[in-house]
């Protein structure tokens, strides 16, 4: 049954993906001017543009052009950046893992910090720690959503690099003098662990502390609120009272409540991943991290359309996949959803 649902959801991805492709396809088509010229930039020689025109089948009808575009993208061909003269696919291979790592670590920190925090502050215990945590988090919940992430990042750089000089400044993921680890996945932290390169690992982690903290702090607020409100409802429900009345151990009662509070939190985390991608664009600019976010910003400023198309396509696909994973986790973890899903 689970498999069937997963296949059904995977199947529904395809039409969505096609529409997303249609949008990225239209980005260049709806601009005034010749799409081939736009893609190759103002400096390209006329013969090259003519060649691309033929390749893009610009003399054929729009559906045929779209088909051609899909064919290229499915082969991993995103065109060429006219500014750097690199193939976009090649650039992406280098930059995508960096952003992926940043977003992944941000989500991990959000999950590790804010879900337990939401559980603790929702509990009814009145100990000193819980009380002070409650005070701190209520201020946090009120303000965190209003912080511009890019500004917070700058302030942290000022505080920890310029003033205290305990953390590295905005120089990317590794300092200039640190050799990058052997390329396996392209994610510096993971690669250094895999190759046992502890010096690089330490460098990479030190460089990632501030950007990851900024992302988690700004985008974790909503995770915290969802966990808190879900747990508050669950802990005051009849079944919690019943469980407490039966004398079940505290952790078990908490676990039952947690399972009930979890589904909306999972959906929210999946949702936040798409915001994190947007955040990564800004954070990478602030911390000078060479990921796809900074790549996109540079391409946008220089009207470099091939990378923009690729970036929009990738971020939309990534968002869709994160929703899918969220849905599947919920489907597997929550029997209520499973049963409802079966009836549909």
């Amino acid at each position: 049954m689970n498999l069937k649902y997963i296949f059904y959801r995977l199947g529904s991805l395809l039409p969505m993906l096609l529409v997303i492709l249609l949008v990225t396809f239209s980005i260049v088509r709806f601009l005034p001017g010749d799409p081939a010229r736009l893609q190759l930039g103002p400096l390209a020689p006329e013969e090259g543009v003519q060649k691309l025109r033929e390749e893009m089948k610009l003399d054929k009808s729009l559906p045929e052009q779209f088909f051609e575009y899909v064919k290229h993208v499915s082969k991993g061909d995103f065109g060429r950046s006219w500014v750097t003269q690199n193939e976009v696919a090649k650039d992406l291979k280098k930059k995508l893992p960096v952003t992926f790592e940043l977003v992944l670590l941000g989500v991990l920190v959000m999950i590790i910090v804010f879900i337990p925090l939401g559980c603790i502050t929702a509990s009814r215990s009145d100990g000193f720690i819980t009380k002070s945590l409650k005070k701190a988090t209520s201020v946090y919940g009120l303000l965190a959503g209003s912080f511009p992430d890019f500004w917070l990042g700058l302030m942290l750089i000022y505080l920890f690099f310029t003033k205290l000089s305990i953390l590295p400044g905005p120089e990317g993921i590794l300092g200039i003098l640190t050799p990058p680890p052997q390329h396996i996945t392209g994610m510096y932290v993971l690669d250094s662990i895999l190759t046992g390169n502890w010096l690089t690992l330490k460098e990479a982690i030190l460089h990632l502390i501030l950007p990851v903290f900024t992302l988690a702090f700004v985008y974790g607020a909503i995770i915290y609120k969802y966990t808190w409100s879900g747990m508050t409802i669950a802990l005051r429900s009849q079944y919690t009272r019943y469980a407490e009345g039966l004398g079940l151990p505290k952790w078990k009662v908490l676990w039952y409540a947690f399972r009930n509070a979890l589904p909306p939190v999972v959906v929210m985390i999946a949702n936040q991943i798409s915001y994190l991608l947007g955040g990564a664009v800004l954070i990478e600019t602030v911390f000078n991290i060479d990921g796809i976010g900074q790549y996109a910003v540079q391409s946008i400023i220089s009207s470099d359309y091939s990378p923009i198309q690729a970036f929009v396509l990738i971020s939309a696909t990534f968002t869709m996949l994160s929703y899918l994973i969220g849905d599947i986790i919920n489907f597997v973890a929550d029997p209520r959803i499973r049963i409802r899903g079966r009836n549909d």
Partner: protein, 337 residues
């Protein structure tokens, strides 16, 4: 604090009315936010008149002066008084955010109204159109908001008008979904049936009777979305795809000061950031405050799982949107919910 606030809120009697009720049920942060929202809107109107110096004219001799008696927030890299710029800058952000939000309300509300009314209705064709529009909203929202806005502004050139269009475009689905959700329940109410029976046409029923009743969540959301749009506008300008210097704008000011930050000159970025935080916080929290004011007091009890324990209303207080995320959040509930 949240708990205490809720207690205070539930203590309000259902009979109290008007501003007295407002004073009683609003929490302190909400009151502060409402006052500061009004001040920020005023500042957006008269800001340049209050500025002690010119906000555009550069003065290289005065470059990057730290805060002092003459320039209380120092001067930026062009020698312009930061305080003057901070006073002038909200005008651009607030103007863009308000225009964009109202554009999306004007477009999104009628669409949401019709979608909610015709969805799953008798007319196969209209029902199909309605679900088509909803799927379109899905697609717009499947693009990361900021990324999408950035792309939209980039492919049409960065100008205030294009930023307004881009931000309005990404916000339309929020209002479509919001109104649609309301109308789906409203159309089943007895008064809707009565209006239909006495001979109102579908459209008349929608726009005359259902619309007014569906508006209160929209009013709440407007303020939240304005706050969120300010954030996006500033973010766009920060990466250089928004308002261009020398026009005073908060994101561009932060961006301009960014490179001096590591050198220890913090003031050109710090103060506009504070102003930006304050603006976003004020609008978002005002939305919260309006929600509490517009909701009938009894709704709090209904929303809670246990009617006798009204001091907890986490479903309202907790999930409440701070950044306008709620539109996205609700819309991305899995299909089987």
């Amino acid at each position: 604090m949240i708990k205490k606030n809720n207690k205070k809120r539930s203590g309000s009697s259902q009979k109290s009315k008007g501003y007295l009720r407002a004073i009683r049920i609003l929490t302190l942060p909400e009151k502060i936010a409402m006052v500061s929202t009004i001040l920020i809107i005023l500042l957006a109107i008269v800001g340049p008149l209050l500025a002690p110096y010119s906000a555009i004219k550069s003065n290289p001799a005065q470059r990057l002066q730290p805060p002092n008696g003459k320039n209380i927030m120092g001067t930026d890299e062009n020698g312009i008084d930061v305080f003057s710029r901070v006073l002038c800058a909200p005008r651009m952000d607030v103007f863009i955010a308000i225009s964009a939000t109202f554009t999306s309300v004007i477009i999104g509300t009628p669409i949401g109204l019709l979608v909610g009314f015709f969805e799953g209705g008798k007319s196969k064709f209209k029902s199909f159109l309605a679900s088509l529009i909803l799927r379109l909203c899905d697609i717009i929202q499947s693009f990361p908001v900021f990324v999408f806005a950035l792309t939209l502004v980039a492919i049409s050139r960065p100008s205030a008008f294009n930023i307004i269009l881009a931000v309005a475009f990404i916000n339309i689905p929020i209002f479509v979904r919001l109104v649609r959700g309301e109308v789906i329940s409203l159309r089943e109410r007895p008064y809707a049936d009565s209006a239909r029976i006495i001979g109102n046409s579908d459209l008349r029923l929608c726009f005359k009777h259902l619309l007014v009743n569906a508006l209160s969540p929209v009013v709440v959301q407007i303020s939240v979305v304005i706050g969120f749009s300010v954030l996006i506008t500033a973010g766009l300008s920060f990466v250089g795809a928004g308002v261009q210097p020398p026009t005073p704008e908060l994101g561009a000011m932060i961006s301009g000061g960014a490179k001096y930050m590591i050198l220890g000159q913090w003031w050109p970025s710090f103060y506009p950031g504070i102003m930006l935080c304050l603006t976003v916080f004020s609008f978002a929290t005002t939305g919260e405050a309006l929600r509490h004011l517009l909701e009938p007091p009894s709704a709090a009890e209904v929303g809670s799982y246990e009617s006798h324990e009204t001091d907890t209303d986490p479903s309202k207080a907790g999930i409440s949107p701070e950044t306008g995320i709620v539109g996205g959040a609700n819309s991305h509930m899995p299909t089987i919910f």
